[in-house]
């Protein structure tokens, strides 16, 4: 309500939002000013643009197409472990990309399990590098997300509809056309748009499984222009293109998608009367589970063996990663809590906008801009870790706001009047009411941020020199040096650190929290 008194001031949130907007737009402007006007696009840039669009389109199509039967199977079957499996579908969001890639290489790579199997019957091994490798990794990450989104659509169909259709004697196909197809038509555009947008900014996957003139994304091309040629003008031009793409995709994803992938209520299996074929559903569930679990199991097994081969560098890198994750989480909370508070009191404009900006921003574009800005003042390499922590926090911001805002709004709505009538001041309301009430959400958001930051392989690759490394970068370097055992050990350590950080913070938030 306009002009209505609020129990807490929006100004710190507006300040934080302005900082975020200044960082994203300022680095963008810096990059744009550097872009050479006459340079234009060379053939390699066109190839990068084409590859970016092709791989994102294919990744979106495969993820969504495979997610439909998996979600359908999960929606209509009850079995032991169903809850755990649905929870597992949320895990790739915080799974470090480098860990998944190592696992995918061990399963699908040249020397992987499947190639070995093919070898025993005299077939040549699989080639994982290139377009299909990139798409495979993207499907690995986005099939679970797509499945959760579609499953949510299934769960939202009222059970009465299924009962009515069963009463009318609809069989499997008829029920699909009558009830499920309309739902899919509503949900799928959003799913495709979200996966497409995520894959556009793919960097670590393209860095490890792509590369070469025929499999370079724009994000990777920015990195190469930066590190190989040190051609800032070209990096800037590519950054501008990337920003246009991501903005477009983020807007499309926001337009088509509703709700978030973490949604509640996924644990209910709808009672169905169309029978269907349990065999087919079972196969889909088993295949999806194997696809997700085998690479992870492989990393765990080889990691246990590799633990004893890890050089001391890995432990130093792990310590660095923990520090970056802690700093990143702290920065995130300093930004997100005031911003969520401001949005909850109805100051939506600029604050929500800068929250959304983070979805469109590409970490390498921010990184490039910061590099250009810092260079006249200091050696950017010296600031690699603070910059990484800052960029990771900004990247996690849109997700954190999605988690925090509904609870903050609820708290202000439910307790705001009482606080006002008690003459409670802004500061007291924030510390004594808002923060304790939001503790579960704060823990969840902090856990996500810590895990994302711990596993991030992005800006750090841009800034770091040989002296410093975070754990993901160190693993990447070990892989590049073909020290696969040590890399696997590091990957296991990273997996434990990421998941552990998430678990501790999420649990800590919910510990003794009242409903």
């Amino acid at each position: 309500m306009a002009g209505r008194a609020q129990p807490v001031t929006p100004w710190p949130g507006i300040g934080a939002a302005s900082l975020v907007a200044a960082l994203i737009l300022g680095t963008l402007a810096t990059v744009a000013l550097r872009a050479e006007t006459g340079g234009g696009f060379n053939p390699a840039d066109w190839a990068a643009l084409r590859f970016t669009l092709v791989q994102a389109t294919l990744s979106a199509l495969f993820s969504a197409a495979l997610a439909v039967p998996v979600a359908r199977a999960l929606a209509r079957r009850r079995f032991p472990g169903r809850r755990a499996l649905i929870a597992l579908l949320g895990a790739p969001f915080i799974l470090p990309i480098i860990v998944a890639i190592l696992g995918l290489l061990q399963v699908f790579g040249r020397a992987g399990w499947i190639s070995d199997l093919l070898g025993t019957v005299g077939l040549p091994p699989i080639q994982i590098y290139g377009l299909h490798g990139v798409v495979l990794a993207h499907v690995f990450f986005n099939l679970p997300l797509a499945t959760r989104l579609i499953l949510q659509g299934w769960q939202e169909i009222p059970a009465e509809r299924f009962r009515l259709a069963a009463q009318l004697g609809c069989g499997g196909m008829a029920m699909f056309r009558l009830i499920e197809l309309p739902m899919l038509r509503r949900i799928l555009p959003g799913v495709l748009a979200v996966v497409f947008a995520i894959c556009l900014t793919s960097f670590a996957v393209a860095l490890t499984l792509g590369g070469g003139p025929r499999a370079t994304t724009i994000e990777l091309a920015i990195y190469q222009a930066f590190t190989y040629d040190f051609n800032l003008g070209r990096a800037a031009l590519l950054s501008a293109v990337q920003l246009a793409l991501t903005t477009f995709a983020a807007l499309a994803a926001l337009k088509f998608s509703r709700g978030d992938g973490f949604g509640a209520g996924l644990n209910r299996a709808i009672r169905r009367w169309d029978g269907g074929t349990p065999v087919l559903d079972t196969l889909w569930i088993l295949a999806a589970t194997a696809f997700l679990l085998l690479p992870l199991a492989s990393v765990v097994i080889s990691g246990v063996l590799g633990v004893f081969e890890m050089p001391i560098l890995v432990f130093q890198a792990a310590l660095t990663s923990i520090l970056v994750a802690v700093a990143s989480t702290a920065i995130l909370l300093l930004l997100a809590l005031p911003m969520a508070t401001a949005i909850a009191t109805g100051r939506t404009g600029i604050v929500e906008l800068s929250g959304i900006l983070g979805l469109a921003a590409s970490p390498l574009v921010i990184g490039t801009g910061l590099f250009v800005l810092i260079r006249p003042l200091a050696n950017p390499t010296d600031l690699a870790l603070p910059v990484t922590a800052l960029v990771n926090a900004v990247m996690a911001l849109p997700f954190a706001l999605r988690i925090l805002v509904p609870a903050a709004r609820d708290t202000v709505d439910r307790h705001g009047r009482l606080a006002l009538s008690l003459n409670m001041n802004n500061h007291t309301f924030f510390t004594r009411i808002l923060l304790p009430r939001l503790r579960p959400q704060i823990g969840f958001a902090a856990g996500l941020t810590a895990a994302l930051s711990m596993g991030d392989l992005g800006v750090i690759a841009l800034f770091a020199d040989a002296r410093i490394a975070t754990l993901p970068l160190q693993i990447y370097r070990l892989m590049g040096a073909y020290q696969m055992q040590a890399a696997a050990g590091g990957a296991l350590l990273l997996l434990i650190l990421s998941m552990g950080a998430f678990w501790i913070l999420d649990r800590g938030g919910r510990w003794h929290a009242e409903a």
């Binding site: 009047r417 009482l418 006002l420 409670m424 007291t428 409903a515």
Partner: protein, 230 residues
């Protein structure tokens, strides 16, 4: 004396006029059809809504420019009268010190208030560990330590059963009599009005009518009240 001087409350299409006064120490029920604006009237007096015209004053002092917490009144809402993460004593203490820093004297006052509403030794319980009636008592204990001149009740006991509700209203009647507090209470149940209040304000047809003696009002109801009572 609480004076509503030529007041107009507007919110979109909604309009309510009020022009009357209530004597200090009176107990007044506010009844009327749902949607007529009973809660809106209370929220406006409490300062949660702005007047589009007119003045509200208490004993000659205008309340209009004051924020809700600065007005000499305390209010109980339909729900959300306690903070669920704070225990009963902390919730009561908020009425004394919103920032939570208590002196020993403050603590004794909180404990005394909890005793007065019949909850000795319950200070360490959180709202979830209390029954609905006990939660209402904690909220009333907070009202006691707030020591405001006016108490506004926006059907805070609506979720309780009939017997429990009557018990709470009797407790409220005792407390306002002891502390000489002016009571304004929204209700949709005429029996509540009979039970503890001498006067009744009828809110209907976009007007909050001046208070009339409850007994006479119900004996000889005007057309709007007759429609409501059915």
């Amino acid at each position: 004396m609480l004076k509503l001087d030529d007041c107009t409350i507007a919110n979109g299409d909604f309009l309510l006029r009020a022009d009357f006064q209530i004597m200090s120490g009176a107990s007044v029920a506010i009844i009327g059809p749902s949607g007529a604006g009973k809660s809106t009237l209370l929220e406006t007096i409490a300062g949660f809504r702005d007047l589009s015209n007119g003045q509200i004053s208490w004993n000659g002092q205008t309340l209009t420019p004051l924020s809700p917490g600065e007005r000499p009144l305390a209010m109980l809402f339909q729900d959300g009268n306690l903070f669920p993460h704070l225990d009963a004593a902390q919730n009561v203490a908020l009425g004394l010190r919103p920032n939570g820093r208590l002196s020993d004297a403050d603590r004794q006052q909180v404990e005394a208030a909890l005793c007065r509403v019949g909850l000795p030794e319950m200070g360490a319980r959180k709202p979830a560990e209390l029954s609905g009636g006990q939660q209402s008592r904690v909220a009333l204990a907070r009202i006691l330590v707030q020591k405001r001149d006016i108490l506004l009740l926006d059907e805070p006991f609506a979720a309780l059963g009939p017997a429990l509700k009557a018990e709470m209203l009797d407790l409220v009647a005792d407390l306002v009599a002891e502390t000489r507090t002016t009571l304004l209470m929204v209700s949709h149940d005429p029996r509540d009005a009979h039970r503890i209040t001498g006067q009744t304000v009828l809110v209907a047809d976009q007007i909050a009518h001046p208070p009339a003696a409850t007994a006479q009002l119900f004996e000889n109801p005007p057309p709007a009240l007759r429609d409501y009572l059915g």
